[in-house]
Structures are given as structure tokens and as C-alpha cells.
């Protein structure tokens, strides 16, 4: 961001000379033609490279650890710890066939899918009502839902745990399936409201004239048109569910009902010095479904994230 005076002096002059020819060229390029390669290397590529390396190193280290034989894990100074000479899949094997890991994975998936589905259904209805039916006080309700988004789970888990006990849901997947929507509904509603607003009102008026009910309009017109928004909401909500920790830690106590994040933290930590390999393998496998989902829907994911912020 800080530049020397010399290059700054050059910039206006250079743009003056070249702007006429550049004006006809691709506009999206902006003024980047002014940047010479060596200069760009120093100001852009090197810092970017460093940041990306720092951001990705933990994953590399996780991966390397998970395929290292046990004796190498505890011997940093013997060889190069950043490389594995004899990779082994023993940790993965142990994880998948000698522990409850597949059950935890299934629990996480089950809870995440159910909670996300419930939240999307509730959010579609709520968002449609707020943006299109515009009943009395719809704006206020929209604001309140946004406020609900700002209530963090960390201040709710203690009273919720007593409520879960009273409802008899403690240590069942339903404790999570019913509480996760409180995190997801505000977000999804807010996101979908943005999408619904972009659908032309005329379409709905035509349908009303043709005698469609509100329900038919929602199912046959609005939802098909808002599919990209629904995918965004689904992916983001699913990720949030998968990531959730504090409710899962508080409401689930028995081993076979745990979700991956809580199980990793509590079940693998047993004072065994050789746990690191399976711990890292567990963390890696637990992240994999999300990373795969993300790889296919990057654009939806980004639009969900930025869309919720822009509103």
C-alpha cells in the first residue's frame, strides 16, 4: 500500500500518455497495464503468496501428520518433518474401522441435513410472507429476525440445556435438529428475502389474476425462480450445522450420538501420545464433505456469504 515517491510521480504521467489508447481496450482491466511485472511481483504476488501459505499450512500439516508412521511423529529432528518418506494409511484405517467415526459422521450428516431442511422450509415461508404478502408489521418482523441473527449461541446454551431436559430431548439427535434452526432461520430468511425481492412483482400479479392462490404462487413461481438462492442458503446453512459445536457439546453426552466436532475433541484425547495421527486423520475426514461441497458450489457459497452481509 505504501509506495515510493518515484513511482507515484510516474503514474499520472503514464496514464496521461496511455489513457487514449487504453480507453478503447477492455475496461475491466482498469489501470493494471500500468503495473510492470517486477513491481507487481513485489507488491502483489509475494504478499499474496505469503498469506496463502500461512492460510493453508495447517491443512498441509494435518495431511502430513495423518499419513506419517507413529515413530516419525515424535521425532522431529531426525529427518525433515515436512515430508513423509514412508506414508501409511494406518491412521485412516483405525479411524474408519476401529472407532465409532462412521457413526459420528452419519450423525453429523443426519443432523445437518434435517436441520437445514427444516430451516429452509420455515425461511422460505417467512421470507415470502415478509417480502410479498406484506402483512401489517412485516418490516418490524424482518428487523426482529435480523436481531435474532445477532444472538449468539454462547449465551443461550445454559437455559437451552434445561429446556432440552424438560422436553425430554437430551442426548437425542432431535435436540440438535430442533435447536440448530434458531441459528439458521434468521440467516436463511434474510438471504432469501434478498432473492425474493429481485423477482418481478408482475409475475405474481398475473398469477393472481389467473386465480392462483398464494400457496400456488409460492410453489409454482417463486421457488423455481429462487433456486440459486435456495442452493446458496442450503450450502451455507449446511456448513454452519456441520461447524456447530457448543450445542452439540452440551446436549449430547453418549458416545454413539456425538457429532464429528465434539467427538474429535472428547474421544480422541485420552493421554495417548500416539493419538495425533488419528486425530489429524479425523479432522481431515471431517472437513472433507464440506470441502467437496464447497468445491462444487463456490459461487453459491460466496454469494450467500456476501449476500447476507450486503442486505
Amino acid at each position: 500500500m505504501t509506495t515510493t515517491a518515484g513511482t507515484d510521480l510516474k503514474n499520472p504521467a503514464a496514464s496521461g500518455v496511455f489513457s487514449r489508447s487504453a480507453a478503447k481496450d477492455d475496461h475491466s482491466e482498469g489501470m493494471s497495464y500500468l503495473e510492470s511485472l517486477p513491481r507487481k511481483t513485489v507488491t502483489v504476488y509475494i504478499p499474496l503468496f505469503i498469506i496463502v501459505v500461512v492460510l493453508l499450512f495447517p491443512f498441509y500439516w494435518m495431511f502430513i501428520t495423518s499419513i506419517k508412521p507413529d515413530q516419525d511423529l515424535l521425532d522431529l529432528h531426525g529427518g525433515n518433518p515436512l515430508w513423509v518418506s514412508e506414508p501409511t494409511f494406518r491412521h485412516f484405517y483405525k479411524l474408519l474401522f476401529e472407532s465409532n467415526y462412521p457413526t459420528w459422521l452419519w450423525n453429523t450428516m443426519f443432523v445437518a441435513v434435517c436441520a437445514t431442511f427444516l430451516s429452509i422450509v420455515a425461511s422460505v415461508l417467512a421470507a415470502y410472507a415478509i417480502t410479498r404478502i406484506r402483512y401489517k408489521g412485516a418490516q418490524t418482523v424482518g428487523g426482529l429476525i435480523f436481531l435474532a441473527y445477532l444472538v449468539p449461541p454462547s449465551i443461550l446454551f445454559i437455559p437451552l440445556s434445561t429446556i432440552i431436559h424438560v422436553y425430554g430431548l437430551f442426548d437425542t439427535p432431535f435436540a440438535l435438529i430442533l435447536t440448530y434452526p434458531t441459528i439458521l432461520i434468521p440467516f436463511c430468511t434474510w438471504l432469501l428475502m434478498g432473492y425474493f425481492k429481485t423477482i418481478p412483482y408482475e409475475l405474481e400479479e398475473c398469477a393472481l389474476i389467473d386465480g392462483a392462490s398464494r400457496w400456488q404462487i409460492l410453489v409454482k413461481i417463486i421457488i423455481p425462480l429462487a433456486i440459486p438462492g435456495l442452493i446458496s442458503a442450503f450450502i451455507f446453512a449446511f456448513t454452519l450445522c456441520w461447524n456447530e459445536f457448543i450445542y452439540a457439546l452440551t446436549f449430547i453426552s453418549s458416545n454413539p450420538n456425538k457429532t464429528v466436532p465434539t467427538a474429535i475433541v472428547s474421544e480422541f484425547v485420552d493421554g495417548d501420545v500416539f493419538r495425533w495421527g488419528s486425530l489429524m486423520a479425523g479432522a481431515l475426514v471431517g472437513s472433507l464433505p464440506l470441502v467437496i461441497l464447497y468445491a462444487f458450489f463456490v459461487e453459491h457459497y460466496v454469494s450467500a456469504m456476501t449476500g447476507a452481509v450486503k442486505e
Binding site: 504478499p47 515424535l74 518433518p81 415461508l125 432461520i185 463456490v298 460466496v302
Partner: protein
């Protein structure tokens, strides 16, 4: 007039008898209500009610398996003399402040870098977001291993570089101050992608012609950033930072997975302390009181980042035009 009115009210129920049901289906307000029922049921049962109950519990001496009785402000009085609580409070504030400031600085810098014309831009952007999508607990576990006291790869790197001696490794997780630095670092690492990508989305809406105009007028790079980019970005910065501060302040999982509040309670945030006292210790009332005492700070933080930045935006608009 009166007759007419009476007649009308009399006439109404005639076709209205079957249409009372019709009314519920067609009337805008009723229809809106039906559509809102599922969402509201969830939010009221599992958000509003627990929030109220949490407030009530913070004034009781409830324990696990026993409804508490009202004890007034006793929990809070007790906490205000509790050195662990004060320590957690101070660390939470420092943690939030330092982590948010650094996240913002690096996040903005990364967004500006990514806003350049780069080869494989979309790919780099997706790679940058990975720390954000991987569950926090799982990456926290990786950090736990990276900063392991005996087998830390960082220590190995520092030894190789000759910065520290192999005989006296840094006790990352054992030393209170180092542990605090490590959890702050992990939080920053996790938060940067979110800030960078959302700010990048904001940056992409800024027209390149504004930069061209500024450059023609002889603006330096810093001036371009300060007087073109920054003012246009303030609304989105306000929202992003509000969220960032909120989630940093109430963080639980990162700390719980890495240190569980240790060593000697040095890395307890209010959320983790509340879990330890409320759920593990069984003092639900006290735990709820700790959780509730986060609320004023949260409100203050939200107000600060929201209105502080909004006002600046307004001032800028005022002075520029």
C-alpha cells in the same frame, strides 16, 4: 345512517358464515401469520424463551437437577469479586480487540491484493476461503498440534533458522502469555478469509473509472485508497466488522478445542468460563450470570462498530459533496 350501518353488519355474517374460514385464507394479515408460523415457532421456543429463561436463571441459584430460587443480584456480586471471572472478562476484551483489529487490517490488505488483475483469480479466491469452511474445531485441533509443547513444527522451524536453541524450546501451550497469543493467532487465521472475501465483494462494486480519475488528478496510491476506496467501502466494513466483533467476543469452540481455558485459566473467554461453571460445575445460575454479563459488552461492541462507522460515512458524505 345508523340503519344502513346496522343492516350492513347484519348482512355481513350471511355470506360471512362460510367466509370466516375464507377470511383466514385470504386476508393479508392472517395469511402472513400462517406463513410465519413455522419460523416463529422455532425462534420463540428455542431462542426467545431461552433468552428470557437465561436472564431469569442468572438471578437464581439453579443447579443441575434443581430449579433455583430467586437470589437477586447475588450471582453478579459474587462474580465481581471472582478473580477468574475478572481475568476472563479482561482477556475476552483484549482477545476481541486485538483479533478484530488484526483480522480487519490483514483482511482488507488481502482483499486489496485479490482485487488486482491476477491469473487464476477465482481459484485463489476459493483457496483463500478454505479456512473459513473447515469446521473451527477441526482446524483448532490442527493448531493444537502445530503448537504442541514438545513436538511443535514451529519450534522445529525456529530451531532450523537458528532463532531459538534446541535445548530450550518455547512452551507454547504451557506458558499463559504464549497460550493467549496462540489462541489469538488461531482466531485471526480463521477470521481473515471471511473479512477478505466480503470486502472483496465490496471492492468489486467500485467502478475502475473512479481510480482512473483519481490517478489523473495526481492522487498517490494511499490517497486513492483513503479518499476513493475507503469511503465507498465503509457501509460494508461496518457490517462485516460488527459480525466479526460479535463472533469473536462470543467465541467458544476455538478455545475449548485448543486449551479448555488453561493454562491456569489464562485463556478463558466468558463463554468457556460460563460452560465450565454452568455445565461442568453444575452451577447453572452462575453460568447463566456469566453468559448474561456478556450482553452489555456485546451491545456496546455492536453499537461502537455499527454507529461509529456509520457516522464516519455520513461525515464523509457531508464533507465531500
Amino acid at each position: 345512517m345508523a340503519d344502513a350501518a346496522a343492516a350492513r353488519t347484519e348482512v355481513r355474517p350471511m355470506p360471512g358464515e362460510p367466509s370466516a374460514w375464507q377470511q383466514l385464507k385470504v386476508n393479508r394479515n392472517w395469511l402472513g401469520f400462517w406463513f410465519m408460523v413455522p419460523a416463529m415457532a422455532f425462534l420463540v421456543l428455542f431462542l426467545v424463551y431461552p433468552l428470557g429463561k437465561g436472564l431469569w436463571m442468572s438471578f437464581t441459584d439453579a443447579r443441575i437437577g434443581r430449579e433455583g430460587r430467586f437470589v437477586g443480584l447475588e450471582n453478579f456480586e459474587w462474580l465481581s469479586e471472582d478473580s477468574d471471572f475478572i481475568r476472563a472478562l479482561i482477556f475476552t476484551i483484549v482477545f476481541t480487540f486485538v483479533a478484530s483489529a488484526v483480522k480487519f487490517a490483514i483482511g482488507l490488505y488481502l482483499a486489496l491484493l485479490l482485487n488486482n488483475n491476477l491469473p487464476f483469480k477465482a481459484f485463489i479466491r476459493s483457496v483463500v476461503l478454505i479456512p473459513f469452511i473447515v469446521p473451527t474445531v477441526l482446524s483448532a485441533v490442527a493448531f493444537w498440534w502445530i503448537f504442541d509443547t514438545q513436538f511443535s513444527v514451529i519450534t522445529w522451524g525456529l530451531v532450523k533458522l537458528g532463532i531459538i536453541d534446541r535445548g530450550s524450546p518455547i512452551n507454547w501451550m504451557g506458558d499463559p502469555f504464549m497460550a493467549q497469543c496462540v489462541v489469538i493467532f488461531a482466531n485471526i487465521w480463521r477470521g481473515i478469509p471471511f473479512i477478505a472475501i466480503t470486502l472483496l465483494a465490496g471492492l468489486q462494486t467500485v467502478s475502475p473509472s473512479l481510480y482512473e480519475a483519481a490517478t489523473l488528478d495526481g492522487a498517490t496510491r494511499w490517497q486513492t485508497f483513503r479518499y476513493v476506496t475507503y469511503p465507498l467501502l465503509t457501509p460494508i466494513i461496518a457490517v462485516v466488522m460488527t459480525f466479526s466483533v460479535l463472533f469473536t467476543f462470543t467465541d467458544f469452540q476455538l478455545i475449548w478445542a485448543m486449551t479448555r481455558g488453561g493454562p491456569v485459566n489464562a485463556t478463558h473467554l466468558m463463554a468457556t468460563l460460563s460452560y465450565q461453571r454452568g455445565i461442568l460445575g453444575g452451577n447453572l445460575g452462575e453460568g447463566a450470570a456469566i453468559a448474561i454479563s456478556m450482553v452489555p459488552f456485546l451491545l456496546a461492541a455492536i453499537m461502537f462498530s455499527w454507529f461509529g462507522l456509520q457516522r464516519r460515512k455520513w461525515q464523509q458524505g457531508e464533507s465531500n459533496d
